[in-house]
Subunit: 347 residues, 4 copies
């Protein structure tokens, strides 16, 4: 039973098949492969965005950093949640790719609120040339704590950004999980709400390693291409990125996989709830944060369940001390495992 | 018939099999997968370097840029050939990853000579704090023109570098092709000659997309890891990089593939020579540079042969004008194709 | 009456005289001038630090950014107060000069506390290669709100930093004002407390434009010199920086000027206190933050007093609304002006 | 007798007087001082450019680097002479300020020619996203070898740049010396010829330390201001920069000083010519490069003449060996010294 992260599971067999199938003869390199043409068309159709510029990279950090570098000047600051991946988990990659922009942490909650965002943006107002200038707003959907912004919430944040003339980036490492949770369309969750650029994740949802960057305004497309190359993120054998994304988007695989992950997560949440476990954040996609007594954690670990204890340490003595943990369901987990896990929790 | 580049051919079936085989269940992310332990052991054994730090990335530009960034301060300059990939084909990635170091072009030949290298290094001598400081020497093996440095030549260049206390980087995007051309050991072509860090290519020789960076002195290993992460080149599902490299190094596949590519290139060179074609550079690995009349080029293109005309244009009128071209043999080409091609050249 | 900032007052006549006196004949450029030798000796003596490396630049932001760039790797984070000048007032200069390091804001108070600092440093603990690495601690003395860390407080912060093996930078743009406020020695306020590098301000305390950077451990001296040059902060006609600093340090001018500024500020604070005005922060050096009714602010402005309203706006209607303001006393203000000002406040 | 550089001489008394005069009372900081308004008006008038954006910094490297950073993207390359100051003498400052742009060395002569420039620009043509993109052309006037581009030559270079849509920067560290050598107007030497941005030197021609950056198209003015602040080159007590430039431009002081320096240099050149000394480069402004036997160099050094031997070493034995040297005349040298020097050469 593995709940440590959705970046540790296997790729979906359809993705592997696509890789194998793409491995025939020669293909033009560096993104000029015909499968990439298909991918571009797929994403434009799925997003109802016929003009969008679409690029592939292999890591989520690359997608985020390159998108932000394209939207942000080095003397600006990016507004994001205090627990944003770009702030906590990318070892200063956004600062590196932007040439030294700052990240301004908005409020103290996981989800940014329009009021907190407005306050943060306004706080950069009065210093003229001395302070960092206002730059893009970056929203993480699904959040790093497993919650999901509603379309209304996204729109409200984008409205604040637009009121100041600032572009909006969506870190969609778990885009599909959010989408199926909301039941809206990709367009509604992005450009219709006011999003300008998306990191559209594939890796965590059953791919080997591929993320799309979607720029709804193609004006900065060429700059993005140059930044991707300069960042060493342009693949020569690009067809293997294209093939993954192509298969991922075909026959609704991406949404199917997310539905499965979210569904199993809901089952897990239900089981925990039934066992009296309290959630630290409302589980809305494929991640559960909850607190359980050390005794239960020890039981789980002894049974070989793999996951991360988020605060505190298993090593303590008090069996009743509550330790927070994160459980992530990837596309590949099955319901029987969930049930076994819940059984272990119940003891 | 495809001779445009060795970055456009398919991956070797053994590599694909390894990818598929690696796709079982969960694996620890970010380079902690057990296959990576095997890869590390393989490379240390192959290079007779039990202390070496070994890392994987997905592109050659990433390998070069991260290796150089680890060896070079931003106020230094990297000494390299005027046709080095790091200078001509990476859109300023080395400048980006080093934080703004300079590249000093050594001499005007494809291969650096010890005299030219010494002269370049000495030329940075007298400016104190004003000029860029001397930084690493970067050698490309196979060169960008298909020639190969002998072990003696490499040693002589490294000796010059060492005389000034400068580290040496080897851009081995085509490491295997050089190695089998020289018939020496990996250790002889690297640390025994004085090389400190290697970009060890897999992609061009039958992998999907993987390159190793080998640091013979592990002192900067942790810095390299941080730079890799910050550069967005640390893969979460790292096992798919490991699996490629693992299969590539197993059962001598890497050398076999290179022998095949070089052998077919030699066959092609022999055919061209027999047809009276003159080489621009001596073909020593898997690349041929040669000049042929426009008429022959037109015939080849009409027959569907894919390759790059390097100088001049097919579009001209004079059928006798000589146009230079590059022909690259990858691992997957077969001898029959070579013979057909030579037949076309002969007309 | 001018209280807007100590960066807008005139230079002390002794500084101007030194400039004029230095303007004789030729002098070796780029920091090799003989006056610089004197300055180095002065600072080493004043700081009881015979090995210290000493450099001059022309702006406080340059001093801070270059010192931090020398102490900090680009994948690290600098720990500082949420109101630190390096965070709020340098338009991302520290991020620029460090090559993209992050700034981590410690706690929510003006002064960092050891507990808040420890908590911030520990919070970067668990993410391994993913999070920013722990970098230098930067302390502002006098703080941006006019308060002063005691030697005990500085020592306690440095102890926390040292416990994690982190270097400490002191932003001493108002070093002299802090020193005379504490009545300690320069050594006690810096290296004896655990400080590794100091931005030693001259500009705000009567110079034309000069700051010293003092590195108590000279190991990184050459790197600093290269970073200064690369940052375009090495002056060719360096003697004019040296002459300022030389005169500033001579005959206790620097402490005299600070005593005068602090003394007048104390007089101002006393007057305000007597008039019933409440301080936002305890005035401990040459800066007062206080809140007064709009009516008083209007009276002051009409009388031509120049200062910054820090929160709220003069333009409102309610005469009783409290507006916070900052009053800075520079070396050149005289007591009569202070008294006139207090008279205006009293109305 | 001092001929080592024009960066080691004293400031003109009028400049010092202006500094002292500016030192009265309070002045708005950070470039908002009223003297700066005068300077802006002066430069706009002198350059016949009523819309130009005008900024002051304290070093020539700052002027060059900030101007180039404003004109250049990090994935571009700057075209310049192989002996350009930005390439040889700024310790990678342009690479730093541009965020990692490259410098492409044009031809192998001191002066760029239109043909060599066109060839360099065209050489970057065919690599698409892989090579650095074409960026600004930077011309040094007076060149680093004491020669001067004619207006026709400047225009021809600018025409090549314009033909490719590239902006042109003029490194005018010795702008005045070139101007009086050509006898043209500032407009003719800059925007009328096609120059977009100028580093307008003051330091080498009698100032303490001030350079103007002039952007004829003010569209990037705000970006320049932010880059200046972020580079730590915005002075709080800016009036002391303004005062220098104000005095420098007043009453034709800048041209007078340059005429004097050039005139004395011509006198020196004439004396050398009469003594049979051969010039390495035609002396056209205030710098002479020439070769003389070691015996003469020894005589000069023994007499206390200060200058730089450019190639070879005084320390050798052969009295007849020719050593190249550079002699720079600054504004403050007088004709009697020139004559004494020539007398020493004649022996």
């Amino acid at each position: 039973m593995f709940f440590a992260s959705d970046n540790a599971g296997p790729a979906h067999p359809a993705i592997m098949d696509a890789l194998v199938k793409a491995n025939e003869g020669y293909a033009p390199p560096y993104g000029t492969d015909p499968i990439m043409d298909e991918v571009r068309a797929q994403i434009r159709e799925i997003f109802e965005a016929p003009e969008a510029a679409v690029y592939l990279v292999a890591t989520g950090t690359a997608a985020n950093s390159l998108a932000l570098a394209t939207l942000c000047q080095p003397f600006e600051t990016v507004f994001c949640s205090p627990v944003a991946h770009i702030h906590e988990d990318e070892c200063n990659a956004p600062e590196f790719f932007t040439g030294g922009a700052k990240l301004t942490l908005v409020g103290d909650a996981v989800k940014m609120t329009p009021d907190a965002l407005r306050a943060s943006i306004e706080a950069e107002e009065s210093r003229g040339v001395h302070g960092p200038q206002r730059g893009p707003v970056s929203i993480t959907q699904v959040t790093e704590r497993g919650t999901v912004y509603s379309v209304e919430e996204l729109t409200a944040l984008c409205d604040v950004a637009k009121g100041f003339g600032l572009p909006v980036h969506l870190d969609g490492a778990r885009f599909a999980n959010a989408l199926v949770a909301l039941g809206c369309s990709p367009a509604e969750m992005t450009w219709k709400a006011g999003v300008d650029a998306v990191s559209f994740g594939g890796t965590k949802n059953g791919c080997v390693g591929v993320e799309a960057v979607i720029l709804f305004d193609p004006q900065k497309a060429w700059e993005f291409e140059l930044r991707r190359k300069r960042g060493a993120h342009l693949f020569s054998k690009h067809r293997y990125l294209s093939a993954q994304m192509n298969a991922y988007l075909k026959d609704d695989l991406w949404c199917e996989s997310a539905r499965r992950a979210n569904g199993n997560c809901a089952r897990l949440a239900q089981g925990l709830r039934a066992a009296g476990v309290a959630f630290t954040y409302a589980p809305q996609a494929n991640i559960v944060f909850c607190a359980m007594p050390r005794a239960i954690h020890k039981r789980l670990h002894e049974a070989g369940v793999v996951y991360n204890v988020w605060s505190g340490s298993l090593a303590g003595d008090d069996p009743q001390e509550m330790l927070e943990a994160r459980f992530v369901c990837d596309w590949s987990i099955d319901s029987a495992e969930i049930d076994r896990f819940v059984g272990l929790v119940k003891g």
